[in-house]
């Protein structure tokens, strides 16, 4: 067995050599930290003293004694299962529509739709200005001028409204990498398939979509889904920049902001790692389910 591996390795050593730089980085910066946080999840670690093994205590505290974690979990799941799919479907439809445009126009449209993702961080001040809680805020000013409200609304402070606004902004920014993958994927489909489809009796564009377009771009769909899941589970920036950190009554708290609260404010790394492990497992699980579902497309 061992010999087999060695021989195999020798036979394809060039390939392994070419892979080596990436693999080293992957091992050191991705795999190793994941394993490390699984281990740290079972310890008390304040970054100065060496970690102390405390068994399942962190997980017990997480699920039984941390009310804020439950809010974070709820919000994150909301982002993952409501915002995520909406923006996924949205990405695809925008890509699909753009695909019919002439070449130049398509490039322009792609840039326009992708722009929010690129400028994301730098426009938070603009959003803050729009949702500013006094009468100088754009939204408040507009609504007061139209006579819809009388007193300014504290959009980003009122816990009832925070989440809605975060979702809107998140959606605006969400035509991200998956959108680009879809635009590319749509280009690669063989045109002759559509002609064959017409011959075989496809009646409308939706049938075309379901039976030809989607099955032909399953790899891109899976890639897009993976990216979307990662993005949805790790929503944090929007919440920190708009709702503040922490937000009123933790209304905008997500798993990642909660991890930051414990990791970089209280320096309780063990507890933060335990939370990270939970997020990681949730992502892996969702990925499996979604990939399974996507392979059913077109059947």
């Amino acid at each position: 067995m061992n010999k087999g591996i060695v021989r195999e390795f020798k036979k394809k050593k060039e390939s392994y050599l070419l892979m080596a730089p990436y693999m080293v980085f992957f091992l050191v910066f991705t795999l190793f930290p994941v394993i490390l946080s699984v281990i740290l999840g079972f310890t008390y670690y304040n970054m100065i003293d060496p970690p102390r093994f405390i068994g399942w205590y962190n997980y017990v505290r997480l699920f039984l004694d941390d009310d804020i974690f439950l809010i974070a979990l709820k919000n994150t799941l909301f982002f993952a299962f409501v915002t995520g799919p909406i923006s996924y479907v949205l990405s695809f439809f925008v890509a699909w529509m753009i695909n019919d445009l002439p070449r130049t126009l398509r490039s322009v449209a792609t840039s326009v739709f992708y722009l929010p993702t690129i400028v994301g961080v730098s426009v938070y001040p603009m959003w803050r200005l729009i949702f500013s809680p006094d009468e100088y805020g754009y939204l408040n000013g507009l609504l007061i001028r139209w006579g819809l409200i009388r007193d300014p609304v504290a959009w980003l402070v009122d816990p009832d409204k925070v989440l809605i606004i975060l979702i809107i902004v998140q959606l605006w920014m969400s035509l991200g990498i998956s959108f680009l993958a879809f635009v590319a994927g749509l280009q690669t489909i063989d045109k002759s398939l559509y002609e064959a489809g017409v011959m075989d009796g496809i009646k409308n564009r939706f049938q075309e979509l379901w039976y030809i377009t989607l099955p032909s771009m399953i790899p891109q769909l899976v890639f897009g889904a993976v990216m979307q899941i990662v993005v949805s589970f790790s929503v944090a920036d929007v919440s920190i920049h708009l709702a503040g950190f922490p937000s009123t009554e933790y209304a905008g708290e997500t798993m990642v902001t909660h991890i930051m609260d414990y990791g970089s404010i209280r320096y309780e790394m063990g507890y933060a790692s335990a939370m990270a492990v939970v997020v990681f497992l949730m992502m892996v699980f969702t990925n499996r389910v979604v990939s399974k579902l996507l392979h059913k497309v077109g059947t």
Binding site: I48, S132, G244, I265
Partner: protein, 949 residues
């Protein structure tokens, strides 16, 4: 063929460029270091004509016995005046007229601040104590060649020139910087001086009749017709501007310019002190003087290589004195026009014909003083117009509010009589000013454009008064735009490379490098940038005794600190300092074991987070700590104490002050509030007039809370302490929010927003400036911003202590919390004794004071620091009156301890606050609920760090 040709051509160009690069890099060699001989400093002369009131004839002071010195530094029978001293003279004026007053004095060593005093003529004070007269100290560079560090020039140490001075008194804060004029009738007059700040030896007061300098033509024809009266030939002499004789402020330091290869001395990579001035030589009244020599008596012309790239489309002005006098009228306002690059200016008339100066053989002094010149009147008028327009804006706001209802007709022109006639009046004045400005500058410029925009808007207001409410916002924007331009116009920066003195026929030197020279310069600088570390402020060598110091500051501050260390610390102790600029990564670095020995200007939360985790060295075990402690306010060390030890030395304490607009309060007949009841009493009056009260409230940010601690976030801790409670109990095991007084304070605080509708989110500076919010409670740092950036309301506002709660004995409890930075020694420091020596040096009053002063002269009033060391605070640029006001509040500062888990306290106070203000929940239940959370966190953290077992 064509393609091949292009290849060959590109190749040729490339190799030519390469050859040129290599050539220019290797041909560079710096001229050897200059050696200038030291100046000989001489006293300024006693005047011979005019009315002299000699020191010895002073009538006895009012509150003191005047101290006579029989002889002092070469002058006899002089008197010493100390802070608070007064003295009076009687003078006999022979004829009625306008007189200028000059004073012969010798500044005694003090804090390095200018001397301030009040002047009374015949029993009437000429200005009140908010605008005292000033006599400046004069400064010189340390003599000898410049010190270098890693091959880079260091700025020369600034020393006070110990000389007898003779200074004409200038009107305080006058834009022109012109001398004060006293109208005196024939007969006896009394002159009275009350010294407010610093001390001096006084020789005489001197009155002389105002005499305007003659015009150039007269000057030229009046010159002595002696033998030396001829125009010299082929003479050209350069004086490097960065080597001045004297200057009026220690902030007028030489600077380094690396943008042009023509600037001398030149080095493409290393820092060479080669210019002076720039943005710190811009305040009216500041002057620099130089010495120069001419070989023969005769006529000479004078020129400068200068750069003025800050004041766009405008010119800056200087008054030029030769040997202490303005030689002729044209030298009163000499203009230096705007340009992107370096320029040559020869003093001359409009046609470019140079003015000739009559100079005798030997040494002379030339002095350049900042003045607003011909702009002064315009600036003054525009300032007034803006202020008046702001008042009208305020009147309108009082009727409509900041966001007028679009569906309502306010009939503003009827509610405010004279509104339209005022508008048309101002519109005309604005247009006049615009025309005048165009005429002065010779071109259409930003200022006149802003003026015309505003005038046009006023005209359209007159046409359609009903649209005024809806267009208020743009009206305000236009006014702010104009005020911003005003600020720009008031600053008069000028950078000089050298001055030259030449015979009339000498050609003007080259102003800027040509294309090839510039290209060679850029290539050298680019090549050199690979070898040079500009961010390192490390010491010279790997000395045996060295300490690593981190500061979380900007580059400017680090330079100042570096200079202080070079000048004072290393020579004194022989300890080498490695100074590094590090921002926001102290905790992480320490955790990784890569921390420094010392960190300065550490935020208190950061410091205590390290202390709690055992990463800091307790300082109370070092010798001399107790002496140091007495130089601070009693509670200043409280935040840095944990489990019986002190871990840091406070550097700055920031706390709330109250600012109010005297003019608006006067109009409404209100008094500044002393207690919170007073605040609620004036609130309806202000609110009826659509004006607001600004209380401090900062949005929550967990990272920020972690770093800066509890203080100055909002009013709650302040109100809590004023109600006789405190945040934490004596053992620091829990909060005291379960006490009735805490609930009282919490309700009082939330009621301000819930019941009285005070604004939560606001821009203190702008709303205070426009008057929408004539009363603001915030950190004293607003003071600097108002002084620097709101000229149109100068003198119309005041900073006073915050309102408090009246005690039974009638005194007012104005307790307030604070925030600030501190210096710490890390546990892992390699040499703790040396580190402590450094810390002791750094927190010495004179070093703290000098740091604050140097910083202010480098960065202007916005860079003003307020050291926590009370001794050092006395030496800062705050005037005595401002110091007294600040101290009154400062004495009421009660610092809050930083506990493990303390970040959770301020976070949950804010949570409770939002629940009550936004959700309208019951204050009592809310504060108790969140209090439970706080105490749980404190308990958990105490357990974690082993405080409670």
């Amino acid at each position: 063929v064509g393609r091949k040709g292009i290849f060959v051509l590109t190749g040729a160009c490339f190799s030519l460029f390469l050859a040129f690069s290599v050539y220019s890099i290797f041909t560079f060699s710096e001229q050897g270091p200059r050696f200038d001989k030291d100046f000989i400093y001489v006293n300024e002369e006693r005047p011979e004509t005019g009315i002299l009131a000699e020191a010895k004839n002073a009538v006895k002071g009012i509150n003191n016995d005047i101290r006579f010195h029989e002889i002092w530094e070469g002058r006899t029978k002089v008197i010493e005046l100390k802070e608070g001293d007064t003295a009076e003279w009687e003078v006999e004026v022979p004829e009625t007229g306008n007189y200028e007053l000059s004073i012969g004095y010798y500044p005694l060593e003090g804090s390095g601040q200018d001397i301030e005093f009040l002047l009374a003529l015949d029993g009437h004070f000429i200005e009140d104590d908010t605008r005292p007269f000033r006599l400046n100290r004069v400064w010189k560079d340390e003599q000898g060649p410049l010190k270098r560090h890693n091959g880079n020039d260091l700025r020369p140490k600034q020393l006070e020139a110990k000389l007898w001075l003779n200074q004409k008194l200038a009107e305080p804060d006058d834009l022109r910087g012109e001398p004060l004029r006293l109208e005196l009738t024939k007969g006896k007059h009394r002159l009275f001086i009350h010294l407010l700040r610093e001390s001096m030896i006084l020789d005489y007061l001197h009155l002389s009749k105002v005499r305007e300098p003659v015009e150039y033509a007269v000057y030229r024809s009046n010159a002595p017709k002696s033998a030396g009266f001829k125009e010299q030939d082929e003479f050209f002499k350069v004086v490097q501007a960065e080597r001045p004789y004297l200057k009026s402020s220690s902030g007028l330091l030489p600077s380094a310019d690396r943008t042009s290869p023509v600037t001398t001395p030149y080095h493409p990579v290393k820092i060479r002190m080669n210019t002076i001035g720039g943005s710190n030589w811009d305040v009216v009244g500041q002057w620099i003087s130089w010495k120069f020599e001419v070989p023969e008596t005769g006529w000479y012309k004078i020129g400068f290589r200068y750069r003025q790239n800050k004041s766009k489309g405008l010119f800056v002005s200087r008054t030029i004195y030769v040997d202490g006098n303005i030689p002729f009228l044209e030298m009163k306002h000499v203009r230096f026009p705007y340009g992107l690059s370096w320029q040559i200016k020869e003093l001359g008339d409009e046609t470019g014909k140079p003015y000739l100066f009559y100079l005798t053989k030997g040494s002379h002094e030339i002095k350049m003083q900042v003045t607003l010149g011909e702009l002064a009147d315009s600036v003054q008028n525009i300032q007034e117009i803006i202020y008046e327009l702001n008042r009208i804006y305020l009147k309108i706001i009082m009727i409509t509010g900041v966001t007028p209802d679009p569906y309502r007709d306010y009939d503003i022109d009827k509610s405010i009589p004279d509104l339209l006639s005022d508008f048309s009046n101002f519109s005309n004045r604005l247009k006049d000013e615009a025309a005048r400005l165009d005429q002065i500058t010779g071109q259409n410029n930003v200022g006149s454009r802003s003026l015309r925009i505003l005038a046009r808007q006023l005209d359209s207001f007159i046409d359609r008064p009903d649209t005024i409410p809806m267009r208020l916002k743009s009206f305000k924007t236009n006014m702010t735009g104009l005020a911003d331009w005003l600020l720009n116009a008031k600053s008069q920066p000028l950078e000089l490379d050298y001055l030259y003195f030449a015979s009339p026929n000498a050609a003007a030197p080259q102003a800027e490098a040509n294309f090839l020279e510039q290209a060679a310069h850029e290539i050298r600088a680019f090549a050199g940038s690979f070898l040079e570390n500009y961010a390192s402020f490390s010491g010279n060598a790997q000395d045996e005794r060295s300490i690593e110091v981190w500061v979380g500051l900007g580059r400017d501050q680090a330079y100042v600190l570096r200079r202080l260390i070079e000048e004072s610390f290393t020579p004194e102790t022989g300890i080498d300092v490695h100074l590094n600029l590090v921002d926001n990564s102290l905790v992480v670095a320490v955790m990784a074991g890569k921390g420094p020995d010392i960190s300065l200007l550490t935020k208190r939360g950061e410091a205590m987070n390290l202390a709690i985790r055992g990463a800091l060295e307790p300082l109370d075990r070092f010798e001399g700590f107790e002496d140091l402690q007495t130089q601070y306010m009693p509670t200043a060390f409280v935040p840095y104490q944990y489990r019986g030890h002190t871990y840091a030395i406070p550097e700055e304490q920031e706390f709330f002050m109250m600012f109010y607009r005297e003019d608006i309060f006067g109009n409404l007949g209100l008094e500044p509030p002393q207690t919170w009841e007073d605040v609620l009493r004036i609130a309806p009056v202000l609110q009826n007039n659509n004006m607001q009260i600004g209380l401090p409230y900062e949005n929550l940010d967990a990272f920020q809370l972690l770093d800066r601690g509890m203080g100055t976030l909002n009013l709650f801790p302040t109100l809590l302490m004023q109600n006789g409670s405190a945040v934490y109990n004596a053992d620091h095991t829990a909060t005291r929010f379960d006490e009735p007084s805490a609930f009282q304070a919490f309700k009082q605080w939330t009621d301000f927003y819930r019941l009285y509708d005070f604004p939560l989110y606001k821009d203190d500076f702008n709303r205070f400036r426009t008057g929408e919010m004539p009363i603001v409670i915030t950190s004293y740092k607003l003071y600097n911003r108002l002084v620097r950036a709101a000229p149109e309301i100068a003198g119309m506002w005041k900073m006073v202590p915050i309102p408090g709660v009246r005690n039974n004995d009638g005194t007012i409890n104005r307790s307030v919390d604070a925030t600030g930075t501190a210096s710490i020694i890390l546990k892992d420091a390699s040499n703790k004794e040396d580190a402590w020596i450094f810390l002791k040096w750094w927190n010495r009053p004179e070093i703290q004071a000098q740091f604050a002063r140097d910083l202010e002269s480098e960065m202007g009033i916005l860079g003003r620091r307020t050291p926590a060391n009370l001794e050092a605070f006395r030496y800062t640029s705050w005037s005595r009156k401002e110091q007294a006001v600040l101290l009154e509040q400062w004495k009421a500062v009660r610092e809050i301890p930083e506990l493990p888990g303390g970040y959770y306290t301020s976070r949950n106070i804010d949570n409770a606050f939002r629940d009550v203000v936004f959700q309208g929940e019951n204050p009592r239940e809310t504060i108790y609920f969140w209090n439970k959370q706080i105490n749980e966190e404190i308990r958990r953290k105490r357990y974690e760090f082993g405080v409670d077992e």
